[in-house]
Symmetry: C2
DNA sequence: CTCGGATCTGGAGCGCGCTCCAGGTCAAGT
DNA sequence: ACTTGACCTGGAGCGCGCTCCAGATCCGAG
């Protein structure tokens, strides 16, 4: 199984080493395995999960939101509970999309005015 | 012409008095007129402009972005320059929409998995 | 005229999400 | 063995966007 050093993981994910440690402290990823000497060893699975976290961060979710997300997915909640949670998160993201479209609409008005 | 006290303006716009002052300091709105005694007097036009700023804030634009936006719209730039700027802002917002859709897609996968 | 609530200013404080630093450890090359 | 560089931990620092506070001023109600 291929594993990655902290530097390699940072390179692969586009997330800085400091931020990877921060995410781990906050419970968003990991816990990450360690080598005999105590260095972090990232698996492909870790990298995948970091990708998910990054995706949500880019979408504007906060650290607390993601912590909750991780907690729900890893807990022993029923599939129904998970779906309820996931749908509520989805609705929140749709509302952000709507806010963006409102702003884009304003820009389009201005562009039409000057264009 | 109807004008509004700070409290009324805050009530109408949903923006706190402190934040209205902050936006004014930062050059996002105003300058707001003053009464004989030095209190702020908000016009309907001010309220409209605050609405625009709020719209962009809700869409995730930062204070610096909005300051630039205001500066461009108020300056004597040519219509072409304004349109170029507005289009670049529009593209940035579209990218945010794309990021949100990626995240929504991830949620949909999870929902499909559990649902 | 007095009282109390709204507002003023300048500046401090705060939560978030990193980012950086000091001081020490581990590991590979020479 | 020695050097060098990546990595470790705990904690400080920072930029953003407010939010709150102290102390002073204004102004409408009684």
């Amino acid at each position: 199984m291929t594993t990655l050093s902290p530097a390699a993981a940072a390179d692969r994910t586009g997330v800085s080493i400091d931020t990877l440690r921060y995410y781990e402290r906050e419970g968003l990823i990991g816990p990450i395995g360690r080598s005999a000497g105590g260095r972090r060893v990232y698996t492909e699975e870790d990298v995948f999960w970091i990708g998910l976290v990054t995706c949500f961060r880019e979408a504007g979710l906060g650290i607390a939101d993601l912590r909750e997300f991780v907690a729900i997915l890893r807990s022993d909640h029923s599939p129904q509970d998970r779906v309820v949670f996931l749908r509520s998160r989805r609705a929140a993201l749709e509302e952000r999309v709507a806010a963006l479209h409102r702003a884009i609409g304003v820009l389009d008005e201005k562009i039409a005015y000057y264009g």
